[in-house]
Assembly symmetry: C2
Homo-oligomer: 362 residues x 2
């Protein structure tokens, strides 16, 4: 990939994923500023971007560390030079717990826990290996996915304090159900999620336990959740890239579109249509369809596996080879399909970022 | 991966993709038999399976070669030992045409063409390199994606015959629009697609050109299309793995479910639910949700990025660590997310197949 540095984005073969660095830098600065204004540390999730080079960039910009979804993601990020990682999900089973503990010997590591037996297994493995794993007690703040009730949090927190190999960092409550809501509901439901966390915090304090960290929030509500006083750490990270899900559906304010996918027209024989070479094997479509940035006169009618089906909305001639720049509907379901993305400024490739955590990771 | 051979599938960490070899062998034999009964050669598409080891197995079972969607897929399959490849899409632009020509120096290669300028570029590159690229003239049989009209096919076929570096193999017409139709419509619309191909064949013959190969068909209609007399080669390949799209939606008859994904419960704290560790980053969901094979008492409520949201439909206790075996809704949108799948017989891993063509390929 090194030979592409300095080239114009138009020279890269298609389909190609690229990031507008001016927009990215603006988004990063915005997230640092908004969280910082409320005294909330920023620990961006890298599940959408999956590139260690970008993760390091976020830490250099002021993030206190990163958030990962899985042990496999954390392993890739540690290998890529990130030194402080939260795995914001339960890590279950002897094989993954062994990998978690091995990782804790190399980086500062924290994991979410909602089950006593699971916690004891992590404690056993960590103490046997002579390492420490930090723990956030996962609280169900309304997503009804993982996490204990606020009432059950103190017992689990107490057990963390009592067991070897594990240290209590605090609480986690991810309000995933809130992200896609309409503005009014989102304000109200973010408040309810924060209330649940406040209950859990109070329950811990009633037993003399102080959570150093309370972690939550996503790109869909980070500007709201940062202001609610429950969180000390914000997990929102996808907003650095942006997409139609974050921009149009979640109405994230003040961000710019950084992530782009450029495709190429491969057929123009069907009247009124143009067919490009990027389908749902290049851009996830379960949330919706991508949008055309350029050229004018084309719009997305649908995606097949390997084809963008474009309507030609005017009489402009389009021939095979015409490049078409798109905004993916959802970065999370797009980036993981690719092996690299290119960081572009003023139309030229400044860096090539391997998407080292692409695909399904255990 | 070699150290997993002989292990029980229950020992593999999750999420894990695996293939029941008895079911696969049955499906392969079925597709060989059904196409063979009609004198149609089987050239299975490997876009769903993406594993060279499986592609080689299909050739050993009687396939005349394989079908790929992209140059990148063909490169991986050639590297993996497949010697006869159809790229069943238009290949556009100087970079991909250069790769196509380089590949034609190593394997028997054929490509779909629907545009004169594109054909001339392939001819120029192939003749400059001193290689031959076989060509199928792509005909639009109703999908309104790529392909020329039957009336325009002879002129393009004639040009293939006149140009250096390219040889006319015949015609292609992929009836992608038919696959998901209800049974009655599918019969009728497969017939219409075959009629278009018959028109194109007749148009070529009227100019003294005999298409040696006429290629089309998919898993959703292969038993119908094989009997219609237009095709000499059947592209259907996904039916060797099977999934809910092929089985429940497309009603493919006589196949067994070979592809499975085993996940693991990671949280049981929300009443009435169990949360497992495979979401839409392990199984594409734009066509629908996976189904639970085992254990009984669980059903899929939804998928998040990294979580299966399961309803517990009875009072059976489920704890973290419980394995859950699923059938993906669509193999095409599932396999490409993984890096390997395991070939399992009688509950034990017989082979490990790298999914070498996973992810977005150019």
């Amino acid at each position: 990939m090194a030979d592409v540095i300095g080239r114009r984005v138009e020279e890269l073969d298609t389909p190609v994923l690229w990031v507008d660095l001016d927009a990215l830098d603006h988004n990063v600065a915005t997230m640092v500023r908004v969280t910082g204004e409320h005294g909330v540390d920023w620990r961006p999730h890298v599940k959408a971007s999956k590139a260690p080079a970008l993760a390091r960039r976020l830490v250099e910009a002021g993030a206190v560390g990163i958030t990962c979804a899985k042990v496999g993601e954390a392993e890739v990020m540690a290998q890529g030079g990130v030194a402080d990682i939260l795995v914001a999900n339960e890590v279950v089973g002897p094989q993954k717990i062994a990998r978690l503990v091995a990782l804790a010997a190399r980086v500062t590591l924290c994991v979410a826990v909602d089950d006593e037996a699971n916690l004891r297994q992590i404690s056993d493995a960590a103490s046997a290996a002579g390492v420490n794993v930090d723990v956030l007690v996962d609280v169900n703040v309304g997503a009804d996915r993982c996490g204990v009730t606020p009432e059950a949090a103190p017992a689990l927190a107490r057990l963390v304090l009592d067991l070897p190999g594990v240290s209590l960092r605090g609480l986690m409550g991810y309000e995933g159900h809130v992200m896609g809501m309409q503005a009014e509901d989102k304000e109200a439901e973010s408040g309810k999620a924060a209330d649940v966390l406040h209950q859990a915090i109070a329950a811990l304090r009633a037993e003399g336990i102080e959570p150093r960290v309370v972690s939550g929030g996503g790109t869909g509500n980070y500007w709201i959740a940062s202001a609610l006083g429950a969180l000390t750490e914000m997990q929102a990270g996808g907003g650095v890239l942006m997409d139609l899900t974050y921009g149009e559906r979640m109405k994230v304010p003040g961000h710019r579109q950084a992530l782009h996918l450029t495709a190429q027209v491969v057929s123009t024989k069907t009247p009124g249509r143009a067919i490009a070479d990027a389908g749902w094997k290049a851009m996830g479509m379960h949330t919706g369809l991508p949008a055309v940035v350029s050229p004018p006169g084309l719009s997305v009618r649908g995606l097949n596996a390997e084809h963008t089906i474009l309507d030609r909305t005017d009489e402009s001639p389009v021939e095979p080879g015409q490049r078409v720049t798109l905004v993916p509907h959802y970065s999370d379901s797009t980036v993981l399909l690719h092996r690299q993305m290119y960081a572009v400024r003023d139309g030229r490739v400044e860096e090539a970022w391997p998407i080292a955590a692409a695909g399904m990771l255990q």
